[in-house]
């Protein structure tokens, strides 16, 4: 009797995917908001791509990362929401009462959140192509964008799961997702760094890791394979993942601890 960690993780992940699919309103609004960003910004702001700083780049390719990252952050927040829901309806305790691996109990919702993100990102890129997106680096570039989106989603899923496990409260973890706004908007969201006017926003954009995510995606979408520009996104992901996953792990340990 008893399973490996992997089998437990698989069983619990599948269950989380099922519950996500059965609650379409947990991901549809997020998807609509992201598509909305893409349409509105492309429609309203694409004229600024005529500015010399843009160097003739396609504004759609410039704004696409914003839409992808907003979907990633919103979707990853779902991992935390799922955990809180389980704690509130007692299912979390039911799992703790089985010999299931404690790691699997926490990993399941996070992995399910990642997969949700993967599908969302593909959908948004498809919408981009429908609007006339051209990717400088082709198919492999799209894969790189997907990779970055998922990495950033994982970082945020760690954060949202950590908040959920710590607070065990729907309202608290909901308000934890407020970090979404500074992350998305205090950055090179609409225009390149050089065109940002306010000094404080420049400073914020420099500190905000999302800036490096945007820039690495834009590199492959607009400029081509420029190793170092791509790497800044990867480094941002590694650093932030290390922080948030540690936070999630510590919170999880507390939540399943029997103190």
């Amino acid at each position: 009797m008893g399973n490996s960690v992997w089998k437990d993780t698989w069983l619990i992940t599948v269950r989380n995917i099922k519950t996500t699919i059965r609650n379409p309103f947990s991901f549809i609004p997020n998807l609509i908001i992201s598509a909305f960003f893409l349409l509105v910004y492309e429609g309203g702001l694409s004229g600024i791509a005529q500015l010399p700083t843009f160097d003739g780049a396609n504004y759609l390719a410039f704004i696409l990362p914003v839409s992808i990252v907003s979907a990633a952050i919103g979707g990853a927040g779902g991992a935390g929401q799922g955990i809180v829901k389980d704690i509130e309806n007692g299912f979390f305790s039911r799992l703790l009462l089985t010999p299931a691996s404690r790691l699997a109990i926490v990993l399941g919702p996070i992995i399910a959140g990642m997969l949700q993100l993967f599908v969302q990102t593909i959908l948004i890129i498809c919408i981009g192509f429908l609007l006339g997106l051209k990717v400088e680096t082709g198919f492999l570039g799209v894969l790189f964008v997907l990779f970055i989106a998922i990495g950033w989603g994982l970082a945020f899923a760690g954060y949202s799961a950590g908040v959920a496990l710590r607070t065990k409260n729907a309202q608290a973890s909901q308000s934890g997702t407020l970090i979404f706004f500074p992350l998305i908007f205090l950055s090179t969201t609409f225009v390149p760094y050089e065109l940002i006017d306010a000094q404080w926003l420049k400073i914020a954009a420099t500190i905000n890791p999302t800036t490096y995510i945007f820039e690495s995606m834009r590199t492959v979408l607009i400029d081509g394979w420029i190793f170092w520009d791509m790497m800044q996104g990867v480094i941002a992901i590694v650093v932030v993942c290390a922080l948030t996953i540690t936070f999630a792990a510590v919170s999880a340990k507390k939540a399943v601890a029997r103190g």
Binding site: G2, T19, F91, F92, R94, L97, P99
Partner: protein
């Protein structure tokens, strides 16, 4: 592995608010025994269940469940027990069948085995017809029954049930009682049940421990416990405080102070034969010219047992 529970000097103090929820509790439950923990809200029943089922650690003492230490070998303990907590642990987005199959697979059943086990359990708790509906649409009673089925997936040697019938209507309560009796009698499953209802403990358990404010205050078979308190109780009320005081004095003199309790301007007397003694008591008070407002004869309830035991704990049968 065995079906026993052995608890020695168990204590639990919650850091938050420094609450001592369980104080130096010791007891043993034999294999195949039906044992009940009877107590009011906040007595420490749920905390004890959570410790014995590996959800929280005790701050003192030791507990062996199914022959394994709950702190050192939690996974071993989890394998052999089934637990239904006070709050049901069901995911509203899955169907009853899916939940049972998932639970079975987590306990190591293969796909085919988990399917069969679910079919059997759905039948036992009479949810076959609703098996493929989402649990979110189940009634409270159906959720309880599904929760019970979930606890049985691994054919537990010991079943822990924390107030399994609180909030249920009589027909669902009866259905759960019937199933618990069957599990205990036919499968020899050891059952540890907590309840606030004397009637429930009385009708199901072989042995009862009464727990109050984290301490066990009495243990025995239902019969032993009830005989401690008397078969009937007579409750009297009076129009004036003066009459109440006079009555307490008169009755204490005649039946002994242990049996007379005054609380909330009511006077309660524990007796063996209520019908006969009621007449005598009223006659006695009449002779002393104490004016009685009302007289009531009833069987002891959990409240009465508590009132009696807690008043005894405080030394004298008087104000609580």
């Amino acid at each position: 592995m065995n079906g026993r529970i052995e608890v020695e000097h168990l204590s639990k103090t919650f850091k938050k608010g420094n609450v001592q929820a369980v104080r130096d509790v010791s007891f043993e439950v034999e294999e195949g025994e039906f044992f009940a923990f009877l107590g009011p809200n906040g007595a420490g029943k749920s905390t004890t269940v959570q410790i014995l089922t590996t959800l929280i650690n005790a701050t003192g003492g030791k507990a062996l469940v199914a022959g394994h230490d709950v702190v050192k070998e939690p996974d071993e303990v989890r394998r052999y027990i089934g637990v239904a907590l006070q709050e049901t642990g069901v995911d509203p987005d899955l169907t009853g069948r899916e939940l049972l199959e998932l639970q079975a697979r987590i306990f190591g059943f293969n796909k085919e085995g988990s399917r069969k086990r679910s079919v059997d359990l759905l039948d036992i708790v009479q949810l076959t017809e609703d098996a493929d509906r989402r649990v979110g649409n189940y009634s409270g009673g159906m959720r309880r029954r599904l929760d019970l089925a979930l606890t049985l997936v691994n054919e537990p040697k010991i079943l822990f049930l924390d107030e399994p019938t609180t909030g249920l209507d009589p027909s669902n309560r009866m259905a759960i009682w019937k199933e618990l009796r069957r599990l205990n009698e036919e499968n020899g499953t050891t059952i540890f049940l907590t309840t606030q209802y004397l009637e429930e403990a009385d009708s199901l358990a072989h042995r009862i421990s009464i727990i109050n404010r984290g301490e066990i205050v009495a243990t025995g078979t239902p019969k032993e416990l009830k005989s401690q308190i008397g078969n009937d109780l007579i409750t009297l009320t009076f129009k004036t405080k003066g009459d109440l005081d006079r009555a307490e004095e008169v009755l204490t003199r005649s039946v002994g102070e242990r049996e007379v309790i005054v609380q909330n301007s009511k006077l309660t007397i524990y007796v063996d034969d209520g019908a006969q003694e009621m007449v005598e008591i009223v006659r006695m008070l009449d002779q002393e010219e104490v004016e009685v407002d009302s007289v009531n004869l009833s069987s002891p309830t959990l409240d009465d047992i508590f009132l009696k035991i807690t008043s005894e704990q405080q030394g004298k049968g008087g104000e609580k």
